[in-house]
Symmetry: C2
Subunit: 343 residues, 2 copies
């Protein structure tokens, strides 16, 4: 196991904690161009893979059948904050598809939007799966099952056709054998997929440069990433990294966070895909690492970094709201001398 520090956590002038991590930068030919840590680390993609999980919703025809708009498609790729703009839209999609809210099987957790949670409690209400950050993705799965005349009750189980289509699509886009993709259970109960980090980067490179995906899939992928970049408020929420990041990148870069410190980025201009995993799983380190990677590659400039400074070098505050430290990226990407297709 390669352990390489990528982000330091300062308290005052001293490093209090530090995060190890892994970065893989791959082009749409599958060549590993830059890395740090172990680019072949087998990594659960978690929610970072949602844009690829959304492909079958469009390819089956379910999305058009139920009149999904660009903001709707963006929401299918989301780990949303549970704001009204997210939950209202989930309900509206389900209603158009004639599916009860109770069909959502994603479970409950306290939403990122504290105001939503406070308002719920103040009204004497309980959390429901609607507020789960994955309710958009689950809605995409449900409407696909409905459109395909498949059972709704067990759409989240590994052998359901909805999940099998996702697995096949992921294998195709990342060009990684389906039988080598390891399956676990995600935070919301659906299958979660583990692949080498550089294969995840390759998948996002092909989402950015979709020329080798075939005409039909290329159009679908273009719709998904265009929707995410045009409506980044759906992908995360107020103040969230994915939202601020895509909102600052002028339709060039799309990115998606996953739990346990995963981030995937596609660059439509260069066709590069970037995959990042923080070894310890702490999401606080992945956004500084993502922006530092883009800076070192020359993909984002000083102005963009400055607009995203609160994500690039986040200031840590204590319970008194005093600034007591900050996160600082601490790595230098290594150029891979002989770029080779890593399979």
């Amino acid at each position: 196991m390669v352990l390489t520090k990528v982000v330091d956590v300062y308290r005052g002038g001293r490093v209090e904690s530090s995060h190890c991590g892994h970065v893989a930068v791959v082009n749409s030919k599958g060549e590993l161009l830059y890395s740090i840590g172990d680019p072949n680390r087998i990594t659960y993609a978690r929610s970072a893979i949602k844009p690829i999980q959304t492909i079958p919703v469009l390819e089956t025809g379910a999305a058009d059948s139920f009149g999904l708009t660009n903001p709707d498609i963006s929401l299918l790729c989301a780990s949303h904050s549970g704001e009204a703009q997210h939950t209202d839209r989930v309900l509206a999609i389900l209603k158009r598809a004639g599916i009860e809210e109770g069909a959502l099987q994603c479970g409950t957790h306290i939403p990122h939007a504290q105001d939503t949670y406070k308002a719920l409690l103040a009204a004497g209400k309980d959390l429901t799966p609607l507020y789960n950050n994955c309710s958009g993705k689950h809605t995409g799965m449900l409407i696909t099952a409905k459109y395909m005349n498949e059972k709704l009750e067990d759409y989240y189980k590994p052998l359901h056709p909805v999940q099998q289509r996702i697995l096949k699509t992921l294998s195709e886009v990342t060009d990684y054998p389906i039988e080598q993709i390891e399956i676990g259970t995600d935070g919301c109960g659906v299958p979660v997929h583990a692949l080498p980090l550089e294969r995840l980067a390759y998948g996002f490179a092909r989402m950015a440069d979709y020329s080798t995906l075939g005409e039909k899939r290329a159009k679908v992928v273009d719709r998904i990433t265009t929707a995410m970049m045009a409506h980044p408020e759906m992908v995360g929420g107020t103040g969230r990294f994915c939202t601020d990041f895509m909102g600052s990148c002028d339709g060039r870069l799309f990115g998606k966070a996953g739990a346990e410190g995963v981030y995937l980025i596609g660059d439509r201009q260069t066709g590069l895909g970037i995959a990042i995993k923080i070894e310890d799983g702490n999401g606080r380190a992945v956004y500084p690492a993502a922006l530092e990677t883009l800076k070192q590659l020359g993909i984002i400039d000083e102005q963009q970094i400055n607009r995203l400074m609160h994500h690039y070098r986040p200031v840590l505050k204590n319970a008194r709201q005093e600034n007591i430290g900050e996160l600082v990226p601490s790595f230098t990407l290594q150029k891979c001398e002989s770029a080779t297709v890593n399979k």
Copy 2:
């Protein structure tokens, strides 16, 4: 920087994330007996040092002047959950000392006890510093200032006599030069202290075997650690590690958690002190690491491990409350061949 994996995080059968860490095991002569990672790592002790911060409250005479009981003293050492048993006791101590609740300067955060938070919101109330996990420690500082006729308004500032007494006491107990202790700002606004990890272990070894601290300090230290072990529910709260751990160890072991993955333990039977720092600061890994250390040292037996299994190998649940993985310690302590006094 020595990077050594100490705890693996499994999802299904695969390691999803892993935590590096450092352990130092020191006896009351100051000899480093066992370690992993870097036992000299300069480490902010954070809240783990609260039992030492409590010494001046007793040594000045403030504790006895205001009639502090054993549960009260235990609460001064706490990072409590904000349950009624904690907040009621903080209010009672402040009242006996004639200090307003508004004097607490620890700031606000959402308490560990979700029920407390829900009840507050449902009642249309706001969080106050009373619910801060450090309100016991701040109460100890306030009553000391009051008893010593010092200003109450700025008791939390580094140059206030309350903080200077703590700094001097910490230097004496750890036998580490006062001018070498690095100071930052803690989560609750008071000074936080960085020392080599093995010096923190030595401090807790001397809290366990207090024979070299002088008669007066020995009595004070005995009262503090006895109070913590007799009333562990005050140190954490329902289901918290410190509470369950000390509740299972029959008055032999005292331990205290600190933010950013710190844990300190003293063993009254062997006079050993143990200090642990998770490099990435994630508290989820520090309890398995602490129990694994005690197991390898032969300080706790299988029965005790079994009683604490949910802290030793915690099961990870998802939003559907399914078991999806677990944390597993993955290190072997190294015996230090020639035990030397590390200063």
